[in-house]
Symmetry: C2
Subunit: 194 residues, 2 copies
């Protein structure tokens, strides 16, 4: 399927904004990387903020699809699905040389206090992800893998916080150590049957 110029700009935006953040990303650099003539940006988006929302939407759509792929995989026990997602994410982070972090986490730090429109959209994305993890944790309880007395929603929030923070620390340290540490403590202390 041929991408339209608008789609190209958004796809390139996801890559550049993931590394450089939103404010530091210049519109000219995006148009150049997308191979799209200058002048078309405001035609397609009106404002840089509208473009930013489309970048979030595309990233969230793709990432949520990926999370579904992991967390709905009935070939694995529920906790193994979460572990596989986390471990493969560590590999990808190392391959990317810790340059990206999590686009939603990055923009949350950068924009939540600056723009209520960004903040609300980012909150929705986190909320969607939280629901996917909570569902999988609930299935782990049903399967007898996870203490049924725990609140799956609350554990999902804990997991999402810890993971976002570990991604941040890995980026700052340029090391997978915080991510490995997080997975290890999570599965030995938090997500256990006892």
């Amino acid at each position: 399927m041929k991408e339209s110029a608008r789609e190209k700009i958004i796809a390139v935006g996801v890559e550049i904004v993931a590394v450089s953040g939103f404010n530091a990303t210049g519109i000219d650099a995006i148009l150049k990387a997308a191979g799209v003539p200058k002048g078309s940006f405001y035609h397609h988006f009106g404002t840089k903020e509208n473009f930013g929302i489309e970048v979030i939407n595309l990233f969230a759509e793709n990432y949520t699809k990926k999370l579904h792929g992991y967390l709905d995989d009935e070939a694995l026990a529920p906790l193994q699905r979460i572990r596989r997602y986390l471990e493969e994410s560590i590999e990808r982070t190392v391959q990317d040389n810790f340059s990206k972090g999590c686009l939603i986490g990055n923009l949350g730090q950068e924009l939540a206090a600056q723009s209520e429109r960004f903040r609300c959209r980012l909150e929705e994305v986190f909320h969607d992800w939280l629901g996917l993890f909570a569902k999988c944790l609930h299935e782990a309880q049903t399967a007898g893998e996870l203490n049924p007395g725990l609140d799956a929603q609350s554990l999902a929030g804990f997991l999402l916080s810890g993971w976002e923070g570990a991604i941040l620390r890995a980026k700052v340290m340029r090391s997978p150590e915080p991510l490995k540490q997080f997975v290890n403590v999570l599965f030995t202390r938090v997500l256990t049957a006892g």
Copy 2:
């Protein structure tokens, strides 16, 4: 003690950069808020990056002092010191209306991939904090509050990651919920004697 113009600029910088980030903070806005004549910025700092490093240094110095105040407080049992720090931080975050997050976490997200000089300085600050938490967790083990078979350094990393991530999510949600959730799971599942 009278602040010099340079000190005023750095102190104002800590406040503004905590809310707006580094790239989005204009030098003119800082000088105006500090009540310092234009033109003096480059005299004092040479580059905006040098100024950014001084902002990190001042914030880190003050915050590390604050952490020492909590974590070295021998009037409380070691785990109670950590709990008090976390709970009072939640109160401050609510008072600030979730506008700041953690300056070091914010700048880590924003700058770690952009500037090796910033990344290294931020890594040092996290490393210092990690050491303070690890020492307190080790004391908790000696006091019989925390399972002595656990690795205090690794738990400290887990705590720091989880807390940074919870601060991020609280900022995005404008709610203390992720912070409360984190503290609750941390003390019921992770930092226990068993």
